[in-house]
């Protein structure tokens, strides 16, 4: 039971990630009408369009006058993460998350963190990549990141059975394992950066309770976006930075119940 409790969100996340791929796959293979398409753009229950807003931004920068379905789909997704989910895409949906979590796990097992040569890349780099994606889209008239996105490659590979995008997975895995901790998702990926930006003000956030905190720092060890936990042991407050992926690992590893999901309404925060 203890293990289950310590991994309850992780299990839920894996379930979400995997069942999405299963539904996509089943739509392609057996014509199920639950979730058709792929992570770039889908049709939910045969009627509701969903689309990757970052791809839509790039395509619009490329000068495309897009179809209504894809625009509506992008608005729906944007609103969902902006109001509710925050950057939850990264830890609950994106297939690359499993790769980077696996690399991190191995890192901890092998204790690579302790011998690591400090390779410094700024976590802001992803915002430069984001800007570059849009600029290059405008220059070349194509959605620039979609041409190299490992997320797209892996998701298409799994769903349409066109190879796994194995080389890309290996690339991200090795980079995260031996290169930089959370190298791809925490530093490079412009989609993660995009969701960090639009998810900034979402209502579902992790909240720290400083009074309960025993300063064990298990949360900052496990967190893929460590800087967002700057308040640990110092102040009781919401994890407010957009880079938090709402993965809830910090909540699970905390033995002292000092972290929990909470609803952040801005009225309430003003009072604090």
């Amino acid at each position: 039971m203890g293990w289950l409790k310590k991994h309850r969100f992780l299990i839920l996340r894996r379930l979400t990630q995997i069942s999405m791929i299963v539904f996509y796959f089943a739509a392609n293979a057996w014509g199920w009408k639950v979730l058709e398409g792929n992570i770039g753009s889908s049709l939910f229950l045969g009627t509701i369009p969903l689309a990757d807003p970052f791809a839509v931004v790039q395509m619009s920068a490329a000068g495309a006058l897009l179809g209504l379905d894809v625009l509506i789909g992008a608005v729906i997704i944007t609103l969902f993460y902006a109001i509710i989910g925050g950057r939850a895409f990264c830890s609950w949906v994106c297939p690359i998350n499993m790769v980077s979590d696996a690399a991190n796990r191995l890192r901890r097992v092998l204790r690579i963190n302790e011998v690591e040569r400090r390779v410094v890349i700024s976590r802001h780099l992803r915002y430069w990549v984001l800007a570059l994606s849009i600029a290059l889209s405008a220059i070349f008239g194509v959605a620039a990141f979609e041409f190299i996105s490992p997320i797209g490659m892996v998701s298409r590979g799994l769903i349409f059975g066109i190879g796994f995008g194995g080389a890309v997975v290996a690339g991200v895995f090795l980079f995260d394992l031996f290169g930089v901790k959370n190298g791809f998702c925490g530093h490079l990926c412009p989609l993660g950066g995009f969701y960090s930006l639009i998810g900034r003000f979402s209502v579902i956030r992790v909240k720290h309770n400083q009074e309960k905190c025993t300063l064990c720092m298990k949360c900052t060890t496990i967190c893929p976006e460590k800087p967002v936990l700057h308040m640990i042991g110092k102040r009781s407050e919401f994890v407010a930075m957009g880079e938090c992926t709402n993965c809830a690992r910090c909540i699970e590893v905390c033995d002292d119940d000092a972290l929990n999901f909470n609803i952040r309404l801005f009225k309430q925060q003003d009072k604090e």
Binding site: G37, S42, D52, A55, F140, G141, V142, F147, G152
Partner: protein
């Protein structure tokens, strides 16, 4: 000069160096990325689904969702992967493997959410004024016959492509001529009618030669261009262009340029 430890970098210097490093790395990234995009956009030898916009618009519109692929009942369409030489993740087909079967209801086009496949391009307005999907309007490519390797041109009886064409006798016709080699037989050879051919590739699929001697090429690759200076005098519509020719269009300026081409042609000197 006294050698020793250089003084620690000033804040300002550190900042400038870091900025420089950032700009340098960004430029490196941008250059590599651009080169790749340019290269990827350059490849052209593949066929898009029916109703696809022209290639550059298609590329900016398609979100690579694969809904068209899922809708195709013949598994014709597939999304490209690394090494296919087709812009990554976009739908295409290989006629010699699985051609487009020219479905009457074109199931691949309506699901496209982005407008990369445009139903208007494969629709016709019938007499009653209603718009109806018509796969005959598709322009996925054009079939080209290699008259050197097509065995019908050798005088051997073959009309496999002609029979396989969903637009039999419209998109492919059979031309008759005398076989000069034997002097007593006929040559019955396939000829593609470019206006009608949809580029579905059924002909390429069934061609009996080892490598297909009739094959579909994308329009951009297969078509020549006569240029606006040639006018079909026997075609009323085309001839209309003459009337609007003054000023715009042609740029060659001669002493007679100020006259309308019609007047010029009707001039006494001719």
């Amino acid at each position: 000069m006294v050698k020793g430890k250089p003084p620690p970098l000033s804040e300002r210097r550190r900042f400038l160096l870091q900025a420089l490093q950032g700009i340098g790395l960004a430029t490196l990234g941008a250059v590599t990325w651009s080169a790749y995009l340019d290269e990827a956009k350059g490849s052209k030898l593949f066929l898009r689904p029916p109703g696809a916009l022209n290639e550059s618009d298609f590329l900016s519109h398609c979100i690579r969702c694969g809904l068209c692929v899922e809708a195709c009942p013949y598994d014709t369409l597939k999304l490209s992967r690394v090494g296919d030489n087709v812009p990554l993740g976009t739908p295409y087909f290989t006629a010699r493997e699985i051609p487009c079967h020219m479905c009457d209801d074109i199931p691949c086009v309506p699901p496209c959410p982005s407008g990369a496949l445009d139903a208007v391009l494969v629709s016709k307005i019938d007499k009653a004024g209603t718009t109806k999907l018509d796969i005959g309007m598709a322009k996925m490519g054009i079939a080209i016959v290699d008259s050197d390797q097509c065995i019908a041109y050798w005088g051997i009886q073959c009309d496999a492509c002609y029979r396989a064409c969903p637009l039999i006798n419209e998109a492919i016709v059979i031309d008759h001529s005398r076989n000069d080699r034997t002097g007593k037989h006929a040559l019955l050879v396939p000829r593609v009618v470019p206006d009608v051919c949809t580029g579905c590739g059924m002909c390429e699929k069934v061609c009996v030669t080892e490598k297909a001697s009739i094959f579909v090429l994308p329009l951009e690759v297969a078509k020549g261009k006569a240029g606006s200076n040639y006018i079909k005098g026997w075609d009323e519509k085309d001839e209309k262009r003459l009337e609007t020719q003054r000023g715009g269009g042609e740029t060659t300026v001669t002493p007679t340029s100020s006259q309308k081409p019609v007047d010029y042609l009707n001039d006494e000197e001719f």
